[in-house]
Symmetry: C2
């Protein structure tokens, strides 16, 4: 705001809210007003929840997931198949795969992809701990590389495959194909080619 | 999330973030992850800012603005023209008018509009204090009614005009017309008619 119409506490709240992904300067003001109006129901609880997260959230030293304990809820869940590890770029991907509920297994979060242009090399990612995790004989039989289907993702997938070469583990990757509910008309040629090549019998 | 992949503190944070206007369940997860990753730069400061707002924000007993002091920054600003009071529906409108920096005067926040269907009558709005503010002879010479150009807003404007009738104050309203930068092609007939009627000489 050009002129200050509210106290510095409110101005600071708006500035910080504007940095939250999904909110901009305009919606941050709207959010701040809404929070102030719902002081008891929302502003207070959100302040407490953020403080609790700040004080308790940590990164799992085994898989790289974020949680309030280390090892994390996923790594310590004994009902999971410990023979399968899904390698993902980001915690958000882990959450997305968990929402799909397709597998009940372990994960490994890389924390990004190899990107020489941005100066991100193998040592900047959580790759060495993955190799150690597999070679230590913890029981992993399959590693599913579930990185994004981008150039950087595929480069990273190849690098990890090389690093795991020789270890007693099966390496797989996600299938390419038509998204469920997707319309062929809107898909790119690469996806259509992959979907045709990997066609299955009805 | 169907299965819990993170501790209850993170789940609760996501649930609360999803209630912030501008964020939904999906973007709340993204926001929570971003906050967790930027623990020192964003999560911590935001927790503190929210706690500070919770502890210090109050409603101005004079004009209905929200601020960290009562009377608020606007009401106590001696450089403002105390002869003009702009009546708005909501604090957001006050902030919007302040951003425009067109006037340097006082405000009065109604806290809504008359809406018999929703059971909102004159006593539910900040109207009586406005009448008292004008009749007490604080020095107000003009009341600009800047409510939204909706049916409820206009009904409220008429009601306030009636209530202020007989007091020594000029009552004005915002001009109707073509928004600056607006294209005629996209405007409704009511706006075009109003803009034609209130045409000014070049």
């Amino acid at each position: 705001m050009s002129k200050s119409v509210a106290g510095p506490e409110i101005e600071r709240l708006i500035q910080l809210l504007a940095k939250v992904p999904g909110l901009g300067p305009r919606s941050a003001r709207r959010a701040a007003l809404h929070l102030i109006k719902k002081k008891e129901q929302l502003l207070g609880p959100l302040a407490d929840a953020l403080a609790a997260a700040r004080d308790s959230v940590t990164v799992c030293s085994t898989c790289g997931n974020v949680d309030t304990r280390d090892p994390c809820t996923v790594c310590t869940d004994q009902r999971r198949d410990r023979g399968v590890i899904i390698v993902v770029e980001d915690v958000a991907d882990l959450w997305a795969l968990e929402r799909a509920s397709a597998m009940n297994c372990l994960y490994h979060v890389l924390g990004g992809t190899l990107s020489p242009l941005d100066g991100i090399g193998p040592d900047d990612l959580n790759i060495k701990p993955l190799v150690e995790r597999i070679s230590s004989g913890e029981g992993a039989k399959e590693v599913i590389i579930a990185v994004n289907a981008t150039v950087e993702g595929q480069t990273t997938a190849h690098y990890i495959t090389d690093r795991l070469d020789g270890l007693d583990v099966t390496i797989t990757r996600l299938a390419h194909g038509v998204p469920v509910g997707g319309e062929l008309d809107y898909l790119d040629e690469g996806t259509l080619t992959a979907a045709l090549r990997s066609r299955t019998s009805l």
